[in-house]
């Protein structure tokens, strides 16, 4: 064990003496949290949108008022009034506008007479998300258009929806804190563990320690320990910063803290072992860069950190079932957002443990003790 600890100490000393790597490993996942949290907030907002009123009747005005109220409320659209339908269409084509609503002449008459009133919606249907959001807004604006007065009492003939929220309300940026933590773990595995060995190979330093009595098992264990130590530390820093930045209220108590550390450590061990297996014979950091970029995308986005796994196509759902980051995200979301419940994270911990054992075994078998 003395030899393993000596190797771990070497790795840790080297890591701590490289401030750029420390800074990148800690700060980049937090920047990711800020950027993704603010740019991709789960709901569509502020879509620029034109209204061309060719009717000028009372129902056209009511429709515009309803759009304005949606703008003031959920803020899905930002509308402007235009006169020229041709100009509006050109602006949609050029991307300056996401859509244009044309209220034709005699629209109000058609509404009052009940003769199938119609409005036109010009959309850039290459942007499916914006198009769907605009269609939702227009449908909402149509609802009760002809109702002159809204009853103060609920209409007992219409079924009422009552939503029971099991957990406290969560902002979108807070909801991606587990994703940021997983991103930090992934970045930790990219800058420690197997990456250190690849750098040693690249610089020729490995020839020296391969000439010593360090065994294959000791080397892979030392790589894993140093990587887990650094990665766990980075992930906990990112988690702490994420909680602070998003004002996230997390479950407190020893078992919750223990479970969070366990999930982070197991995720780090699994990913580090996987990287060790994949990079066991690589000798150029550029290949690590290529691998890293690829793995980050294919592991992170199907993990459920950003979109729910259930909405994926079947083949991607199947991949998520073997993706360690899916289990890590699920476990962290459970603990952070729903309170501590061991039974909710039991399957995640079992999968992450099994994944680590399999990957560590493969990494040890694949590790080359000779040059």
């Amino acid at each position: 064990m003395g030899r393993v600890l000596a190797f771990v100490e070497r790795d840790l000393r080297k890591f701590t003496r490289n401030p750029v790597i420390i800074f990148s490993s800690v700060c980049l996942p937090m920047v990711y949290l800020l950027v993704l949290g603010n740019s991709f907030q789960g709901t569509v907002k502020n879509l620029p949108f034109a209204v061309i009123d060719q009717d000028h009747g009372p129902y056209a005005k009511r429709m515009i008022e309803r759009i304005a109220s949606i703008e003031a409320g959920p803020g899905t659209v930002e509308h402007i009034i235009m006169l020229d339908a041709g100009k509006a269409e050109a602006d949609v084509r050029s991307g300056r506008l996401k859509g244009a609503l044309i209220i034709p002449p005699n629209f109000s008459k058609s509404v009052s007479r009940g003769t199938s009133p119609q409005v036109g919606l010009i959309v850039d249907n290459t942007d499916a998300i914006s198009t769907a959001a605009l269609q939702r807004v227009m449908t909402e604006a149509f609802t009760y258009l002809k109702v002159d007065a809204i009853s103060v009492r609920p209409d007992r003939r219409i079924p009422q929806l009552r939503t029971l929220e099991l957990y406290r309300k969560l902002d979108y940026d807070a909801s991606i804190v587990p994703g940021a933590v997983i991103m930090a773990i992934f970045m930790g595995t990219m800058t420690t563990g197997a990456f250190s060995v690849v750098m040693d190979r690249f610089q020729g330093v490995h020839e020296a320690y391969l000439s010593t009595p360090l065994t294959k098992g000791e080397l892979t264990l030392a790589i894993l320990i140093s990587g887990v130590f650094v990665t766990t530390l980075i992930a906990l820093i990112v988690l702490g910063a994420g909680i602070r930045l998003t004002d996230l209220e997390v479950a407190s108590g020893l078992s919750a803290y223990l479970a969070i550390v366990m999930v982070i450590m197991l995720s780090a061990m699994g990913l580090l072992s996987m990287m060790c297996f994949l990079l066991a014979r690589i000798d150029h950091p550029r290949i690590v860069g290529i691998f890293g970029g690829f793995l980050n995308i294919i592991l992170f986005f199907p993990s459920g950190a950003v979109y729910p796994i259930e909405s994926f196509p079947p083949w991607l759902r199947a991949f998520s079932k073997v993706n360690p980051e899916s289990y890590a995200v699920h476990a962290l979301k459970s603990i952070l957002f729903k309170g501590m419940n061991w039974s909710a994270v039991r399957d995640d911990l079992i999968f992450l443990s099994g994944f680590t054992i399999v990957m560590y075994t493969l990494a040890t078998l694949n590790f080359k003790r000779t040059l």
């Binding site: 000393r13 080297k14 020729g204 010593t212």
Partner: protein, 352 residues
């Protein structure tokens, strides 16, 4: 007792034989040198002996253990200084030594004493706390030698220990190795392509070329083994007067006719001008009696209308030994390979 025993060792990479069936032994307490140009197979040999590369066939016993069967035991008994600088730049000199001592499970108290002793011996005590990144190449190499000795190995392997160092640093490393060889009761196995290094340090030298040992003996006996007592070095003038020099084969045949001439070698790195017929010739003539030979050689060259730029008498060096046994210069091997060997007046091309 032999520290290293190698029997019919072969290492192939595809169809290329890096080591092609070599046998030798290294006596304990001696310095053994593997001398050869780049690509001769020296580094492959040292990597096999240190357990870093598996041989294709054959046997290598190091410190009493078969490298293929007991590599861990071998690694514990040897120290290695690789050709590339392998100390960690982000660690201090002392940390480098401390961590490697722990790889060899050197006990704590002994470790501290050994580190202090070695840092003192390699004159790095005052820089021990500095990061290796701030060291010069020579300092780093001295630290690597100290690291190789941190666990008091029986055998120290050094692969081109002074490559890339300035002359002063090279000399320091030589002195250091010489002292350690005496003080630590070590066996040293080194590879080098520097003749003077091998001459200074080694008790025995194996000249390796293309994976084979050409000759193996002490430096003195190797020098004695080549023909002739003296070497006369002749450089003829390149023709710039429209005339052409006689073909080299004719020149060699004329000179070889003398009884005192043992062998003639063309040195390919000699002066050279474009055009075969006008180029100068740079020859090494191995003769039994230089005082008698030089006037006769001059006369022969004049008879062939060759103008002599310089003629000199030189001591036999390992370079000459290498040329004699491999047919080419060790320095030329690093650059172009167009050269040939002429033995006793019979020109012949060297094969691959």
């Amino acid at each position: 007792m032999s520290a290293v025993v190698v029997q019919d060792l072969v290492k192939r990479y595809g169809t290329l034989s890096a080591i092609d069936g070599i046998d030798f032994e290294v006596a304990s307490g001696t310095c053994f040198g593997s001398l050869g140009p780049n690509g001769a197979g020296k580094t492959t040999l040292i990597r096999i002996l240190t357990g870093l590369v598996k041989p294709t066939s054959g046997k290598a016993i190091v410190a009493g253990w078969d490298v293929s069967k007991k590599p861990d035991a071998v690694r514990g008994a040897i120290g290695v200084v690789s050709q590339a600088m392998t100390t960690d730049l982000d660690l201090s000199g002392r940390e480098n030594l401390d961590i490697y001592a722990r790889y060899y499970s050197v006990p704590s108290k002994e470790r501290r004493e050994r580190i202090a002793y070695l840092l003192d011996r390699v004159e790095l005590s005052d820089r021990a706390k500095d990061l290796v990144a701030t060291y010069s190449g020579g300092m780093r190499r001295r630290l690597e030698i100290a690291r190789g000795l941190i666990h008091k190995p029986k055998i120290l392997f050094l692969d081109e220990p002074t490559i890339g160092l300035d002359p002063q640093s090279r000399r320091t490393v030589w002195d250091l190795l010489h002292q350690f060889l005496q003080d630590e009761h070590l066996t040293i196995f080194l590879t080098t392509h520097y003749m003077d290094e091998a001459d200074f340090l080694c008790d025995r030298i194996a000249i390796i070329d293309r994976g084979k040992i050409k000759i193996m003996d002490s430096p003195a006996l190797l020098k004695e083994s080549i023909p002739g007592d003296d070497i006369v070095e002749i450089v003829t003038v390149a023709r710039q007067d429209g005339m052409v020099n006689p073909p080299l084969a004719e020149v060699v045949a004329e000179l070889s006719a003398h009884n005192f001439v043992e062998q003639i070698i063309q040195k390919e790195e000699g002066p050279y001008t474009e055009g075969d017929a006008t180029e100068s010739h740079h020859l090494q003539v191995y003769v039994s009696n230089a005082a008698e030979a030089i006037p006769v050689l001059m006369s022969s060259l004049q008879k062939q209308s060759l103008k002599v730029q310089s003629i000199g008498l030189k001591q036999c060096s390992l370079e000459d030994v290498f040329i004699h046994y491999t047919g080419r210069s060790i320095r030329a091997e690093e650059g172009h390979k167009v050269n040939f060997f002429i033995g006793a007046g019979v020109p012949r091309r060297m094969g691959g």
